[in-house]
């Protein structure tokens, strides 16, 4: 970074907040470590005002921009594979206000997810979306990816909780939608921006809807000696319109990894699968939901059912579930976290397929997933130094995605498309579908400087399929489809 404009960036945000050279290596990838890129540097603005000045300068210089929260994303969406400048929200950590009457929170984009619920607690409120990385991931990153989490089964993913936001676009113009009403007249721009993976601008502030802390919460685990039985139990519970807040399954490899780790939750090590169900609300409705789950667990031959006896045990059960990805580090140094959606009536079939695909390739697969939403996370433990294993991992990931799509499922439930799944967009959408998304993108960012080469393939689907290079950046950011 020697150009004069780099010094101008330093003048705007302060010298310490422009990171270049070897110090920038920590930003070369996100949680999808198979993809790495070295950009010009990282800029950390303090607020919207500094972001505007930074973006205006980068617009003048025609520099590509990669927005980034905590870098916990799992699809390469925050990796600077096309170079350019990464704009991080690490200094935007202020919870600006919490309004208990409106039940909203106005925050800066770099606030850590779990910090918002902590701040809202004295008001009897909480923020519902709870990704497993919630102790590290930022709310701005959650908005970009429309992140989920176990309790989104009841409360919905991030987009349902965004009341308004403020964004700085590629030209440095502020789009202030913070005061967006509950039912906006005109276009729902907030809905469009949520989940757009940083391709329309940098979100700097968000107005979130908060939920009332329920009067009763109960959590149970049901232990099964087959993964099939756990899946069937969930499918039947969904068909019976169960009103739980979270329905999660962990398989044997995951249970073992968790129990061997600091996240040990007391899951039985001899179990083939554990079903974790939580219900929240009024005491009587919670009781009814839990009774129904227990009844279905018995019908599907659960070998043990147990209710969390207190808040501490409940917290431990969830710490195990949310620590599962980290715990898999005990199995192998790297983890490929797939994220696909299966029709909820075909859970067992698709989980089976994922297991078969991994076994055929001699891979270590752990399943931990949001069963209630049909959102599967087949996790493959591997060592990226073993090139052949990397090849088999990517092949298995692709086959699992294709199996889901063929059976009416989807490519991603909560992690986003990023770079990892970009070419697979052609499995779900055709050229016309993708061209319309490009037209929307071009209406907002005609030079395509925001997070280039992510989400939308830049070539026609036929060419993408023929290229057969799922993780290679495929075109110049200025290229048209």
């Amino acid at each position: 970074m020697t150009e004069a404009w780099i010094d101008e960036l330093r003048n705007i945000v302060g010298p310490r907040n422009v990171i270049t050279g070897s110090d920038s290596l920590a930003w070369e990838s996100d949680g999808f470590s198979l993809v790495r890129g070295q950009g010009i540097g990282i800029v950390l603005p303090l607020d919207t005002s500094e972001t505007v000045r930074v973006m205006q300068l980068l617009a003048k210089e025609g520099v590509p921009i990669v927005p980034r929260g905590a870098g916990t994303g799992l699809t390469g969406g925050a990796s600077p594979v096309q170079g350019g400048v990464t704009i991080g929200t690490a200094r935007m950590r202020r919870i600006i206000s919490i309004d208990p009457i409106e039940r909203t929170a106005h925050v800066q984009a770099g606030v850590v997810n779990s910090d918002l619920s902590l701040a809202a607690k004295p008001h009897g409120l909480f923020y519902a979306p709870d990704p497993s990385s919630q102790a590290a991931c930022t709310l701005g990153g959650n908005v970009a990816n429309n992140s989920g989490g176990p309790h989104c089964f009841m409360h919905g993913a991030t987009t349902r909780h965004v009341r308004g936001l403020k964004l700085v676009d590629a030209q440095g113009e502020i789009i202030d939608l913070l005061a967006s009403p509950a039912d906006p007249a005109g276009l729902d721009l907030v809905g469009l921006i949520s989940g757009s993976e940083g391709m329309f601008g940098v979100v700097t502030e968000i107005n979130f809807h908060l939920e009332v802390i329920p009067e009763e919460i109960q959590t149970i685990i049901a232990v099964f000696n087959s993964l099939d039985a756990a899946c069937d139990c969930v499918s039947e519970a969904i068909a019976a319109h169960i009103e739980a807040s979270a329905i999660e399954i962990l398989d044997k490899l995951t249970i073992t990894a968790v129990e061997d780790s600091v996240f040990a939750a007391g899951y039985p090590r001899d179990a083939e699968a554990v079903l974790l169900v939580e219900a929240e609300g009024g005491a009587l409705e919670v009781q009814e939901t839990i009774d129904l789950v227990l009844q279905l667990a018995k019908k599907h031959k659960a070998i043990e059912t147990r209710r969390a006896s207190d808040g501490a045990e409940r917290a431990r059960l969830w710490a195990g579930r949310k620590g599962a990805f980290g715990a898999m580090g005990r199995v192998a140094p790297d983890l490929y976290v797939a994220d696909v959606v299966a029709p909820r009536t075909r859970l067992r079939e698709i989980v089976h397929l994922a297991v078969e695909i991994a076994e055929e390739r001699n891979l270590r697969l752990g399943n931990v997933f949001h069963a209630g939403d049909g959102n599967l996370h087949p996790n493959i433990a591997y060592d990226r130094r073993d090139k052949d294993e990397v090849r088999r991992v990517l092949e298995a990931g692709r086959l699992i995605m294709e199996a889901c799509i063929e059976r009416g499922g989807s490519l991603t439930g909560e992690h986003g498309v990023g770079l990892e799944k970009m070419v697979h967009m052609c499995d779900l959408f055709d050229d016309d579908d993708l061209n319309v998304m490009h037209r929307v993108r071009d209406a907002i960012d005609p030079k395509r400087r925001m997070n280039p080469t992510k989400v939308l393939p830049l070539r026609a689907c036929r060419e993408v399929r023929n290229a057969g290079l799922p993780l290679s950046p495929m075109a110049h950011p200025e290229g048209k489809p």
Binding site: I101, E102, N146, G148, C152, G156, A157, T159, R160, D169, I175, D176, S180, P181, A182, D183, A185, G186, L187, D188, L189, G191, L192, G195, S196, V212, A239, H241, E243, G282, A283, L284, E285, E288, T289, V341, P343, R344, T345, D373, G374, G408, G409, S410, T412, G413, E414, V417, M425, L428, D432, D433, N435, V436, M437, R439, V440, A443, I444, V455
Partner: protein, 413 residues
């Protein structure tokens, strides 16, 4: 493209009909084109582009007041209504998935009937279900009073297929309850009033049919007092499903209800009545009727102004409105969203630009007229602080034949 046609809307509708082979029909007193399938719709759009004639997808026409074609003063820019009533039918509903996919012209009431046997309901309780279509409901961005429990309807739209004005077919989202693949363009289309694309089919998330419902109706002194009471009961009972204020004859009524697990509803209703502070005799209790009445009261074409305020401001605004409006004016207030619908006599000159609107506009999040004459069309331009709305409209509809909402009658697009 040639210049805009100087022919009258009826003549132009006939020309488009003859050129595309599309039949003419009638909706709400308007001549409209009624394509029988997607190919015919594409042919209509092609002819509309060739003739530079704007068109307006209207569903069944129940929400037409926002841009009623016969209110346009310049016939050459009057949009020709297109009704999709023939593109109707349920495409997929798999018991156990909790979703439904249907064509845009499917009556809302057909969707209700289709999901009932599997113990499910749609996530919005809307009035005039027989005369509303799926595409119309989504295009006009409607939600029911039960948004308090389920959230706005647009949160439950899982995916869509649309036709752009150039005939391109495009889908977004999918049919799964959880999906973040690609841009959520279906969220953008929902509430866009057909200005970006014409919805052909949509998938919705369903909610469980509650075991039991309970509703109340309590007379209050006025709207401002009623709103304060509403906030009190909302605080005391977070599980309320809906909560509205409305006027029935000379009385202002606070109405609300619960829905869910039977044993919980029975306990919660005691808590609600205690929070409201009335005696049991002062409540009119009958869930189904109360819910229906409340829904109908917030219905189509009855209201001239739609004010969206913060909950904090709502009580003050209601007091000011009551002081300035005739005593008989009906206000319908969704107490969960701070939304006030103001009903004014269709002949009242004050409906056009009432004196109170200016002062309220400074504090309310949004004011928009719902049921207007030609003189108010200019105010219907989407309120977007940036140029994004224009850029998106031009990006998806460069010919400008779907952009009726953005233009006032008589003004050249």
């Amino acid at each position: 493209m040639t210049g805009p046609s100087a022919k009258s809307p009826a003549e132009c509708a006939l020309l488009l009909s003859q050129a595309s082979g599309c039949a003419l029909g009638e909706a709400r007193g308007l001549t409209c084109l009624e394509p029988r399938d997607q190919a015919q719709l594409a042919a209509v759009l092609k002819e509309a582009r060739n003739k530079n004639r704007p068109v307006l997808p209207i569903g069944s026409g129940s929400q037409l007041a926002w841009c009623r074609p016969d209110a346009f003063e310049t016939p050459s820019f009057t949009p020709i209504p297109i009704s999709l009533i023939h593109l109707s039918g349920i495409i997929e509903q798999i018991p156990g998935e909790g979703t439904i996919t249907a064509q845009a012209g499917t009556p809302w009431s057909d969707l209700i009937s289709a999901v009932a046997p599997s113990g499910e309901r749609l996530p919005a309780d809307l009035p005039a279900a027989e005369s509303s279509t799926l595409g119309g409901v989504l295009g006009s961005g409607r939600s029911g009073p039960d948004r308090m429990k389920y959230g706005p309807l647009r949160h439950h739209v899982l995916g869509m297929q649309v036709m752009l004005s150039d005939g391109t077919l495009a889908k977004s989202g999918g049919r799964q309850v959880k999906n973040v693949t690609g841009f959520d363009l279906h969220r953008l289309y929902t509430g866009s009033r057909g200005t970006l694309a014409i919805t052909l089919e949509a998938s919705l998330r369903l909610v469980p049919e509650p075991q039991q419902e309970w509703g109340f109706s309590l007379p209050v002194a006025d709207y401002a007092e009623g709103f304060v009471k509403a906030m009190g009961v909302k605080q005391a009972m977070p599980r309320l499903t809906w909560l509205v204020l409305t006027r029935v004859e000379s009385r202002v009524l606070l109405k609300g209800g619960l829905a869910g697990c039977a044993s919980q509803v029975r306990v919660d209703q005691e808590q609600v009545m205690a929070a409201l502070g009335g005696t049991p005799e002062s409540f009119d209790l009958e869930a189904t009727r109360q819910r229906r009445d409340a829904t109908e009261a917030g219905s189509e074409n009855l209201f001239a102004w739609d004010i969206q305020s913060s909950l904090r401001q709502c009580s003050t605004l209601l007091g000011e409105l009551e002081a300035q409006l005739p005593a008989s004016t009906n206000l319908w207030v969704d107490c969960s969203a701070g939304r006030i619908l103001v009903g004014l006599d269709g002949n009242d000159p004050a409906r056009v630009r009432p004196s109170w609107a200016e002062s309220i506009a400074e504090r309310a999040t949004l004011i928009r007229p719902l049921c207007v004459g030609a003189d108010l069309h200019a105010d219907l331009s989407p309120t977007d602080p940036s140029t994004w709305t224009t850029r998106l409209t031009q990006g998806l509809d460069p010919a400008g034949i779907l952009g009726a909402a953005a233009f006032s009658p008589g003004r050249q697009p």
